[in-house]
């Protein structure tokens, strides 16, 4: 795991620092004198060797010091913390919506497999999977904001008024959650179907349990194993999906921070934020692996 994180950090650092261009020159513009450029280069620590710069950066990360933005001169750590206060709740909100849609739809799809309603559910989730969150977001804005005036269009009022803040997150969370829910329902359906066809469930049925009872007593835990995997991966894709949706709704989260820094060529902020997102995705993957083993005792001991 640490190896993967280290590799990821190396990758981010190398890609963002291979170009010979001087960040100091970019910051000061073309009018700057060579002298002032050199001064800023030294001030930013960019005159040191790349290896040294990398070690400084990693050392800072480990100690929670993310450095200072080249452009805004604000602490990147506090900027990211600020952004997380939007992105974090957004992702969790979207996950809840995704589960609220995906679980019941998946169950219904499995239990009604082979009937018309089952195929209908399958078709709907197939279409839902094909809808990018951008499209879901824009359509929701057109219908609920422009036509019906139910929700604010965009922007974020801050958490000082939690109710308004949540209201601003409803549409973005739905644009993410609807799509994830569709994906989730397909996995839930497949997983439950597999349980329904299993031998032990047939045994349970033959001793007089109804489908629901048999599933509850025997099926859920087994069905949960693949679902935990999917859930972890979904969470990771929500974190990344939030980058897009935040831009549709102008929410000041990680996504907006990332894109603004790309546009301003604020490379150190990009470096930190990208590392944070990549790290989150990698840690989620690890948690999935671990929970897999926790839920399925058969895998214990195997590495």
């Amino acid at each position: 795991m640490l190896v993967a994180l280290w590799g990821a950090s190396l990758l981010v650092f190398v890609v963002l620092n291979v170009l010979p261009g001087s960040p100091a020159q970019v910051i000061l513009g073309t009018q700057a004198t060579p002298q002032s450029v050199r001064q800023l280069t030294i001030q930013l620590g960019l005159n040191k060797s790349l290896v040294r710069q990398y070690l400084d950066w990693i050392g800072g990360l480990v100690h929670g010091d993310l450095g200072v933005s080249y452009i805004s001169h604000l602490s990147i750590g506090s900027q990211i913390a600020q952004a997380l206060s939007v992105t974090g709740p957004l992702v969790l909100f979207a996950l809840v919506i995704g589960l609220a849609i995906g679980l019941p739809l998946g169950f219904a799809g499995a239990l009604r497999n082979g009937r018309f309603s089952g195929s209908l559910i399958g078709g709907l989730s197939q279409i839902g999977m094909a809808v990018p969150s951008v499209v879901a977001g824009l359509i929701l804005i057109i219908v609920l904001t422009v036509k019906l005036h139910v929700f604010p269009t965009s922007g974020f009022p801050g958490w000082s008024d939690p109710l308004q803040a949540l209201r601003a997150l409803v549409l973005p969370a739905f644009s993410l959650g609807l799509v994830e829910g569709a994906i989730l329902s397909r996995y839930v359906r497949a997983s439950i179907l597999e349980q329904l066809r299993s031998d032990y469930l047939r045994t349970a049925r033959s001793k007089g349990l109804r489908v629901g009872q048999a599933l509850r007593r025997h099926g859920f835990r087994n069905a949960a194993i693949p679902l935990v995997t999917v859930l972890g991966l979904e969470l990771a894709s929500l974190v990344v999906g939030a980058i897009v949706v935040e831009n549709v709704f102008a929410l000041p989260g990680l996504g907006l921070l990332l894109l603004d820094s790309v546009n301003n060529r604020d490379l150190i902020t990009v470096q930190d934020t990208a590392m944070l997102v990549a790290g989150t995705v990698l840690v989620l993957n690890l948690l999935v692996d671990l929970s897999y083993r926790l839920l399925d005792p058969r895998l214990k001991g195997s590495s």
Binding site: P132, V135, I142, V146, I243, V270, A274
Partner: protein
């Protein structure tokens, strides 16, 4: 001497047996099965339509997709402009057609990058489960940390956003997927008895990969390619929307969505058309992928 001869014929016969289920794919009945499976049928038709529209747009579109006509800006659908015009008076239908070119181009190239690196790496990891395999898997783990969007942002920050960074980003981010899929499917084949037999009579590892593994996992890989193609269309649209890919004035579904944002109130149709195009295209490739997968499963049950 006769022993040797018997050995060679025996070897050939064994290989033929193993190759049997791969050759079933070339069966004439395959087409009929293809047409009877709703997923592969609908998916195939949609994909054909998208490809046809992209090819047609290479030499003909109703209007020049870049031609500005301020006098007819933001016109609704009419006989002159089938789907209306955008804020510069450009024909929306022509722009949709031209966009399918970019979507297919980006999709094809990025899937190519992912497969050209991912499949051999996956085969290697399956063939050499020891240290080499572990290294390949650890490298794949690192790449898992960079989904297409994040990879594209990092590349855009370093090199400036362009179609190239989009293709690279999507391609690289799908490499680990192909490594995993190839490896796990190849392992099943490599652990089978006919491969054990092939090893026993001294077939070299590369020959085993070529004769047994590749033909047997090909369908799975192709199904996966089609599914990933649908994801590249999604990713490309999102990246263009964010301004990280195809730049204006060139037409792509993502840039069309981006500029439609300013007209959500008055001209919602400007958002609807590219949205529909994306959804239909993605649906086509994912249905096709599902269909191919189902056909494979049906065959292996026989």
């Amino acid at each position: 001497m006769s022993d040797l001869a018997a050995g060679t014929t025996g070897r050939g016969a064994l290989d033929d047996l193993a190759a049997l289920d791969a050759s079933a794919a070339r069966d004439t009945r395959a087409w009929r099965r293809w047409l009877r499976n709703p997923n592969s049928l609908i998916g195939g038709v949609i994909v054909l339509l998208v490809v046809a529209s992209a090819l047609t747009s290479l030499f003909w579109t109703p209007y020049n997709p870049l031609a500005v006509d301020p006098a007819h800006a933001l016109a609704g659908p009419s006989l002159h402009h089938l789907l209306g015009t955008d804020e510069y008076g450009r024909d929306v239908f022509s722009r949709l057609m031209a966009s399918s070119q970019i979507a297919l181009f980006v999709g094809a190239l990025s899937v190519l990058i992912a497969t050209v690196i991912g499949i051999p790496a996956g085969l290697l990891a399956a063939q050499r489960p020891g240290a080499i395999g572990q290294v390949v898997l650890r490298l794949a783990d690192i790449l898992y940390g960079f989904p297409a969007l994040l990879a594209a942002i990092v590349l855009a920050a370093a090199f400036g956003a362009s179609k190239t960074t989009v293709v690279l980003a999507i391609g690289i981010s799908y490499i680990p997927v192909f490594i995993r899929v190839t490896r796990s499917n190849a392992l099943v084949v490599l652990n089978s008895e006919y491969v054990l037999a092939a090893r026993a009579y001294g077939r070299r590892p590369l020959a085993i990969l070529r004769r047994h593994v590749v033909p047997n996992i090909a369908t799975t890989i192709i199904a996966q390619m089609s599914l990933l193609f649908s994801l590249t269309v999604l990713a490309e649209a999102a990246l263009d929307f964010l301004g990280l890919g195809t730049a204006a004035p060139a037409a792509s579904w993502g840039t069309m969505l981006q500029s439609s944002q300013n007209y959500l109130g008055n001209d919602a149709l400007l958002t609807v058309w590219p949205s529909l195009a994306i959804v239909i295209c993605v649906l086509g490739f994912s249905l096709l992928g599902d269909g191919i997968g189902e056909l494979r499963d049906a065959r292996s049950r026989h």
